[in-house]
């Protein structure tokens, strides 16, 4: 099995889908000749030509709206927003059209598209390049919102997203684009969207996270084990819509304690939803308040100070200890 980075894995998933299905096309700013500002679309123009890997003008709502139109007309388009912060320019097309067509036409029309973009902070980028907008998309029913955490699941989930009959927003944690390699099987594989993964089994407490924050969660779990003899279970959500309540609640019922970790701001975020789901299903199992280790309710600072904002393992450990000692 080849070792690859997340960038390579995402690239591979697109190539596989494009080879299998001529209706799969990739479009976005600089995805062709330039092969993407992160080189995620490397080789696509060369292999599939300019009708399958399409460089577009600079207009996010047109990229999104055009993609929706292609999907309505029977294609399987994958569009790229160059950065998380510019996906906001296209929100009205996603909210107003992508997510609604199946319902408003009682299933007659549907929008099998994928919108993918680099997600989150941690790479010393300028303003508007480090956004974590998953709660905004997750709030809108009709979309699926997927955030991979490793090369292997990135590839499997992107394949699932492309095969999915509904619109999927696929956010790529850019801080770990090339942070590590992982073995990826030769044959294309897929994973169900909406199913969380136990990234580390444990019995004393549940740490719930996703995307790049998962690394802080896992690192914290090691510290908790090594330094405090606390055996934490770490859940990797992989999708925040649908949200896998069952896996979350099963774990919390076992451990009685939970910490949630994400880099998006806290107010009205995914972590609030998770707390509500736990309280609805498992209140009586809770032995301590649930802690949220998240981005703060500010804009993410300019990059010189961004790591103060993004949760690190230390903050997770601190919260976990407070939870354990409650």
């Amino acid at each position: 099995m080849p070792q690859m980075t997340m960038v390579q894995a995402i690239n591979l998933a697109m190539k596989e889908a494009m080879r299998e299905d001529p209706n799969v096309v990739v479009l976005g700013q600089d995805v062709g000749q330039d092969e993407g500002v992160f080189r995620v679309t490397e080789g696509l123009l060369k292999e599939f030509g300019p009708d399958r890997c399409i460089d577009t003008p600079l207009a996010e709502a047109a990229i999104a709206g055009g993609t929706i139109g292609m999907a309505l007309a029977g294609m399987k388009p994958i569009c790229e927003m160059q950065f998380d912060g510019f996906s906001y320019q296209s929100l009205h097309q996603i909210e107003g059209h992508a997510r609604r067509f199946r319902n408003r036409t009682r299933g007659r029309l549907s929008v099998p598209m994928v919108m993918r973009f680099p997600y989150g902070g941690g790479i010393r980028a300028i303003e508007h390049h480090s956004e974590a907008p998953e709660a905004t998309y997750a709030h809108w029913a009709g979309l699926k919102v997927v955030l991979p955490s490793s090369p292997r699941n990135a590839r499997a989930l992107l394949r699932a997203a492309i095969l999915d009959p509904d619109p999927v927003i696929y956010m790529e944690p850019k801080a770990i684009y090339r942070a590590f390699r992982e073995e990826v099987p030769e044959a294309p594989e897929t994973m169900p969207i909406g199913k969380a993964r136990i990234a580390r089994a444990g019995k004393d407490m549940t740490i719930i996270s996703y995307a790049a924050s998962l690394r802080a969660a896992l690192e914290a779990a090691e510290t908790l084990e090594d330094e405090h003899r606390i055996d934490a279970e770490v859940i990797d959500l992989l999708s925040v819509s649908p949200l896998d309540s069952d896996t979350i609640n099963a774990s919390v019922r076992k451990t009685g304690r939970a910490v949630i970790v994400h880099e998006a701001p806290r107010h009205c975020s995914v972590s609030g939803e998770i707390v509500a789901r736990i309280v609805e299903e498992s209140l009586l199992y809770l032995e301590a308040p649930i802690k949220r280790v998240t981005g703060f309710d500010t804009a993410i600072p300019f990059f010189a100070n961004e790591l103060t904002y993004i949760p690190d393992a230390g903050r997770v450990v601190k919260a976990a200890l407070e939870t354990a000692r409650f």
């Binding site: 096309v25 009708d51 577009t56 003008p57 207009a59 709502a61 047109a62 999104a64 709206g65 055009g66 993609t67 929706i68 139109g69 292609m70 999907a71 309505l72 007309a73 029977g74 294609m75 009205h92 097309q93 107003g96 059209h97 199946r102 319902n103 408003r104 036409t105 009682r106 299933g107 007659r108 029309l109 549907s110 029913a141 009709g142 699926k144 009959p165 509904d166 909406g194 649908p242 949200l243 309540s245 069952d246």
Partner: protein, 370 residues
């Protein structure tokens, strides 16, 4: 350079063929089969009478807010006439005449205004999108559809509508720019009915014509008399032909007038003078087309009476079908995704339990009672 006024390569042509009194410009007159001409007239009349029926249904509380298209029948129908079923048709919300021509059942359109999703469900066999509410957002979808047509190497085209007001939106601009860059088989009709609710055309944009906006995107445009169905057809056919042959998009500004209210919730007395409406009334596309057909001996009072009677029967039937429609109270859970998620199943069960245990239905969901 050094300092000179530049010549602009793009061109805007204006067309009128039928004058308000029904006189035709023989040189420009398109040769259309008699049955087509009569069919077009019947559709225009159907649309007009559909408007009247819906107006009444709204006043009686049997449907919700209704947006009439009175006066604009030619400016949608003329273009719809130029495409076929394989082509895509993307309306805004004032294209009733075109939708009827495409084959949308009257009852379906009524159900849309009656607050039912089934009214947004295109009939099988048509490549149509439903009515679109967010102004101009449909231009992006149509652009994407025409892009798919081009990428799939079909010979199909996409016909899309927007209002004069809609041209101010960013979506219009972005869609037109993409259409120009990729030379998409797209015909963008602008129904310039002089008003966007209370905002008059001159306050919507400082550009003296809307057609000339095509110059910004590097392609040509028409400005046609939108109350002259023959002019609409001639411009539409040329634009469709160009699109089909790979010549790219065209903008067509159809100059027309909203003879009625914006919607039944609107009171135009607040913002426009009756005289203005009076001035436009004689330019009504139906009057003009009728006079033309009468001169051609295709239409007589007897035929008109028969047509009206036929349409009335169809309207009665459609009203009955629409009012007979019963929507499930919980089916809105079923179409969020191809497959219901566990959370949605839970929420649906929650609601079903509530509805089952004697919870009084909080409102009527039948068309006839809303």
């Amino acid at each position: 350079m050094p300092r000179e006024t530049m010549t602009i390569a793009q061109k805007v042509e204006s067309i009128r063929i039928l004058s308000p009194d029904g006189t035709v410009d023989k040189k420009l007159e398109p040769k259309l089969p008699d049955e087509d001409l009569l069919g077009l007239y019947k559709t225009m009349l159907s649309s007009r009478l559909f408007d009247e029926r819906c107006f009444m249904l709204q006043r009686q509380g049997r449907i919700g807010t209704y947006g009439p298209t009175k006066g604009q029948e030619a400016a949608s129908l003329g273009f719809a006439y130029c495409i076929n079923n394989n082509d895509w048709f993307v309306p805004a919300f004032r294209e009733t005449a075109a939708m009827l021509y495409r084959g949308w059942p009257m009852s379906t359109i009524m159900l849309w205004w009656g607050g039912h999703e089934i009214g947004a469900t295109p009939p099988k066999g048509l490549n149509d999108l439903p009515i679109c509410v967010p102004v101009s957002s449909q231009c992006q979808l149509a652009m994407g559809i025409s892009w798919a047509q081009k990428l799939k190497k079909t010979k199909d085209v996409t016909l899309v509508f927007v209002g004069d007001g809609g041209t101010s939106e960013g979506d219009f601009h972005e869609a037109m720019n993409f259409a120009g860059v990729y030379k998409l088989p797209l015909v963008q009709v602008i129904q310039n009915n002089q008003w966007a609710i209370s905002i008059p055309r001159h306050a919507q944009t400082a550009s003296p014509t809307i057609a000339q906006k095509a110059i910004a995107y590097g392609f040509d445009a028409f400005q046609v008399d939108g109350n002259d169905i023959l002019a609409c057809i001639v411009a539409g056919q040329e634009a469709v032909k160009k699109a089909r042959e790979g010549g790219g998009p065209t903008i067509i500004e159809a100059i027309t007038y909203r003879l009625g209210v914006h919607t039944t919730a609107d009171d135009p007395k607040k913002y426009r003078k009756d005289e203005e409406v009076k001035e436009w009334e004689p330019k009504d596309p139906l009057i003009r087309f009728k006079a033309y057909l009468e001169k051609k001996k295709l239409l007589t009072d007897a035929v008109e009476t028969k047509l009206r009677e036929e349409i009335r029967l169809k309207l009665d039937e459609a009203t009955a079908v629409a009012e007979g429609y019963r929507a499930s109270k919980t089916e809105f859970f079923e179409y969020v995704y191809a497959e219901m998620t566990p959370e949605l199943r839970k929420q649906k069960a929650e609601l079903e339990e509530y509805l089952a245990h004697g919870a009084k239905p909080s409102h009527a969901n039948e068309l006839s009672r809303v």
